[in-house]
């Protein structure tokens, strides 16, 4: 569904920008009230300095656009604050968040909680919180808000609560089942950490990462996320 009319000073983050023709930019925003919106920034590439530097992802913005035709046209943009991600590793994580949103969230599907959670994730990345934990929390909350909430309450075979000391096999869209500690199994403590958002050790983070990778691949129809390739040489 396409909306019509003028939208004024809508809180937004820039997710991605691409060049459009010689002088324009094609901008993908995550907005609070309108979800993911693609807007054409006419003649922006001709502008220099401040007017152009605004269009850097991760900075909290207020964006105005007019949506009459096929493609909404950007009419104004204000920067609320500088983009918070100072070091390159955090930028890579930010790109990963953006790719997740672009792949999983359909355009014009408003989810104000996703907007809030995204903003918080950026702040935590900027503040130097454990990056892997920030990413896992974001993944879980994003999926839940989109209707793919991960069942993490109990062993689906027995109905018993999760035991942090036991191992489980996680069946996508169904939930955990107690299993032997083999290569595909994850610790109960990792499942509990995913549910509560509090990770206390590196092993749990590792298990959670492997689990979420599988879950996300499932929801993306088996396609992988490109921004993961950025971390090939990173020492975690």
């Amino acid at each position: 569904m396409t909306e019509t009319g003028r939208i004024l000073l809508e809180p937004a983050y820039l997710l991605h920008r691409t060049s459009y023709r010689e002088t324009s930019l094609f901008l993908e925003f995550l907005t609070r009230e309108h979800g993911r919106v693609s807007v054409l920034g006419k003649g922006l590439r001709r502008k220099k300095g401040a007017a152009y530097a605004v269009f850097f992802p991760f900075a909290p913005l207020r964006v105005s656009w007019s949506a009459r035709g096929e493609l909404p046209i950007l009419t104004d943009v204000e920067v609320v604050a500088a983009q918070p991600l100072a070091d390159a590793r955090a930028l890579g994580c930010g790109l990963y968040l953006n790719e997740l949103i672009l792949r999983l969230l359909a355009p014009h599907d408003p989810h104000p909680p996703i907007f809030e959670v995204y903003g918080q994730a950026l702040h935590r990345l900027a503040a130097g919180d454990e990056r892997e934990a920030v990413l896992r929390n974001f993944e879980v909350l994003l999926l839940a808000e989109l209707g793919y909430e991960l069942p993490l309450e109990c062993d689906i075979a027995t109905g018993d609560g999760l035991d942090p000391g036991r191992y489980y096999r996680y069946i996508v869209e169904q939930g955990p089942v107690a299993a032997l500690p083999d290569a595909g199994a994850v610790r109960g403590s990792a499942l509990i950490a995913l549910r509560t958002g509090v990770f206390s050790n590196a092993d749990d983070l590792k298990d959670a990462k492997r689990l979420m990778r599988g879950v996300i691949a499932h929801h993306l129809g088996g396609r992988s996320l490109k921004s993961r390739e950025l971390f090939k040489y990173s020492r975690t």
Partner: protein, 198 residues
């Protein structure tokens, strides 16, 4: 009026230039065929020659007429310094501006995961081999100050460290002759964080 095949073809061909639409392409066609026939012939041969002779340097991937570009072939350049840039135009810009005596490596793009461009698509294995060879001591990352440019710089920096090469990044901040009041927040906050002792 029926326009003949060759004319239409020329107009359409001219439209491959940046900023040239149907109207300006038609104007160029009239100019070339009516008033500048010599120039048109020169343009045609020059274009033909350039296309036939210019290709990528096998070391640095900049545009060159020989298998190895002048910079890579030069015995006076410092082969332990390698400056990584996004486009051949950046090689020209840096070579003109900076007093730089090392070599270049042109990525011909940047890592842009959201556009589906990863290390493989950018053929970074070529750079990897170069760093592995042990000749390079410092790699200078002169990619653009966009998110993709930063991500690329970071990736190559990690790669360099992996092979024991020292990575460095060109500085960015307040433009020369610029007034602080008119500098955007992102640049200014970056400039502030990257302040240097005097």
């Amino acid at each position: 009026m029926r326009k003949s095949g060759a004319i239409v073809e020329l107009v359409n061909a001219l439209r491959c230039l940046p900023g040239v639409g149907p109207k300006s392409a038609q104007r160029m066609m009239f100019h070339l065929l009516q008033r500048e026939r010599d120039g048109a012939a020169r343009l045609a041969t020059a274009l033909q020659n350039a296309l036939g002779q210019v290709s990528q340097c096998r070391e640095c991937r900049t545009l060159t007429e020989s298998p190895l570009c002048d910079l890579c072939a030069s015995p006076t350049r410092d082969r332990t310094l390698l400056c990584v840039v996004e486009t051949p135009a950046d090689v020209y810009a840096i070579d003109d501006a900076a007093n730089y005596g090392g070599l270049f490596f042109v990525l011909n793009g940047r890592l842009s995961p959201l556009d589906g461009i990863g290390p493989q698509e950018l053929r970074l294995d070529h750079l990897e081999n170069r760093l592995r060879s042990g000749e390079v001591r410092e790699v200078i990352l002169a990619t653009n100050a966009t998110v993709e440019g930063e991500a690329t710089a970071h990736y190559v920096a990690e790669m360099a460290r992996h092979f024991g090469v020292r990575p460095s990044r060109i500085a960015h901040g307040v433009p020369f002759g610029g007034e602080l009041e008119y500098v955007d927040v992102n640049t200014l906050s970056h400039a502030f964080k990257g302040r240097q002792e005097l």
